[in-house]
């Protein structure tokens, strides 16, 4: 499947992606297709490069080499016969408008209410009237079960509620693809469930998702594709059954041993 050309029908394709921070190579030639309408989970030990890969997919990190195609359109850089050329900022915004991003730290804007956070881009970027933007924002808050918290500021919400507002904020712009960067890693264990439930529902509705997570149980039960990264490379890739099936790759076994308490026990 790791052909040089991007696969037709992939929501997002990564080809030959390399990322260096100074002398340190974090990603060493990643090829990956994200199929539309499916959930792709990136798992691996800390420092394996999975978050960096996700951030490169959103062009929050600039890859040192390689390409990212979103719906067939290059994001950030385009390879030309004269070399690699950076696309203009407006082009980057246009391609990126198909992507919704959810961060580990939620990153809600503290000076806006939950409703304000969700409505902001509808008003500023989509230029909707206030009433129309707020109606749509309210509908999104309802899908994450937080219409009753619309007037609360982020500091008045629990971590799980903040992350659900952040998901609503990303969904409000009707992205074709959602990227989740360790969405439950900064939550107390009892709050991860409400966020994972929202993500499960989103997956069931057919949203294309890429999820970086330590929740192996989620990856195994919701993911259609799992990629196991180690040392900046994709070591294993396939359906959860293929990746987690015994006998397992020794690196994966070693990794899973450290996460057995996080819902992975069901797989063993």
């Amino acid at each position: 499947m790791t052909t040089a050309a991007a696969t037709v029908g992939a929501a997002l394709s990564v080809r030959g992606l390399v990322k260096r921070f100074g002398d340190h190579e974090v990603l060493s030639g990643i090829d990956l297709d994200v199929p539309a309408g499916a959930v792709t989970c990136l798992v691996g030990p800390s420092g394996s490069g999975k978050s960096t890969l996700l951030r490169c997919m959103a062009f929050l990190e600039e890859a040192s080499a390689g390409t990212v195609l979103v719906g067939g359109e290059p994001l950030g850089f385009v390879d030309t016969p004269e070399g690699r050329r950076r696309l203009p900022a407006a082009r980057i915004r246009a391609v990126r408008s198909g992507i919704g991003m959810v961060f580990q730290q939620f990153n809600l804007w503290p000076h806006m209410t939950a409703l304000g956070n969700v409505a902001a881009a509808l008003r500023v970027v989509r230029r909707l009237e206030r009433a129309e933007a707020e109606a749509r924002a309210m509908a999104q808050l309802r899908t994450v079960g937080l219409e009753g918290r619309a007037g609360h500021y982020p500091s008045q919400l629990s971590g799980g509620q903040q992350q659900r507002v952040a998901i609503a904020r990303a969904l409000a712009l009707e992205p074709r693809l959602m990227l989740f960067d360790e969405p439950t890693s900064s939550l107390d264990p009892e709050l991860t469930g409400e966020v994972l439930n929202v993500m499960r529902r989103l997956a069931a509705d057919g949203m294309t998702m890429v999820v970086v997570s330590h929740e192996i149980g989620f990856a195994a039960s919701v993911g259609q594709q799992v990629a196991f990264l180690d040392g900046g490379r994709i070591l294993l890739r396939g359906t959860p059954q293929e990746v987690f099936r015994k006998p397992r790759h020794p690196r994966l076994d070693q990794f899973l041993d450290t996460y057995l308490d996080r819902g992975a026990a069901m797989l063993v």
């Binding site: 900022a89 990153n107 503290p110 500091s155 904020r169």
Partner: protein, 213 residues
């Protein structure tokens, strides 16, 4: 105190307040521009901004006022004293506010900017809707202190012929030979305005409840 004298002092306080208010607001605008330039990666922007701040923070305000008042007419720009005073106070407070705001901008978490990037805000929209409100909120107590500093510093503009509260008090003290009650009243009027500014600051902080957990 003679009510006529008191009324003169209150009127002069009006000048002090108006001059300070104009300078603080204009200084905030200039300060935002200078702070942004200081943080720019382009040296053609950051170097002049740094030079601006080090000059207006480093040279006494009294000297700045005399420079502006005497320099501009020599290049053919004739300024009334009150305008020279407003320009001097504005540039001085802009330098201090720029330095404060620079710290505020640096304190805006990177993730909040990335989130704004991801929903498609342009750099200009991001500046006004995310960076500025958060930086101002983070630095509000310092900005209020700076406003009070400028109110007090406005007493120096008498050197360019503006009769504000301090100058009026001096004039009245000299003509009545009763300096003590007059300076005491002037001091009380300054404190009254200080309280007004501090109260305004508190109201602004309360309005932005979002800072509190």
């Amino acid at each position: 105190m003679n009510p006529a004298l008191f009324r003169l002092l209150v009127e002069a306080t009006g000048y002090t307040v108006a001059l300070s208010a104009v300078s603080i607001v204009a200084g905030l605008a200039v300060g935002l521009a200078v702070a942004t330039a200081m943080l720019s990666r382009r040296r053609a922007l950051s170097m002049p901004a740094r030079a601006f701040v080090s000059f207006f923070r480093g040279v006494p305000l009294l000297v700045q006022l005399l420079l502006i008042y005497n320099l501009l007419p020599s290049v053919g720009i004739d300024l009334p004293g009150i305008v020279a005073a407003a320009i001097g106070l504005t540039l001085c407070t802009a330098a201090y506010q720029a330095e404060t705001l620079r710290g505020g901008f640096a304190g805006v978490p990177r993730g909040l900017v990335e989130a704004a990037d991801m929903v498609g805000l342009t750099p200009v929209q991001l500046f006004w809707r995310i960076r500025v409100p958060i930086a101002v909120k983070l630095t509000l107590p310092s900005l209020v202190s700076e406003a009070i500093m400028i109110l007090k510093a406005s007493s120096l503009v008498s050197v360019v012929g503006v009769v504000e509260l301090t100058r009026m008090a001096q004039d009245l003290a000299a003509s009545t030979y009763r300096p003590l009650p007059i300076y005491a009243t002037a001091g009380a009027l300054y404190i009254a305005v200080d309280w007004g500014i501090a109260g305004l600051g508190h109201a602004l902080e309360r309005r932005s409840r979002w800072g509190r957990a």
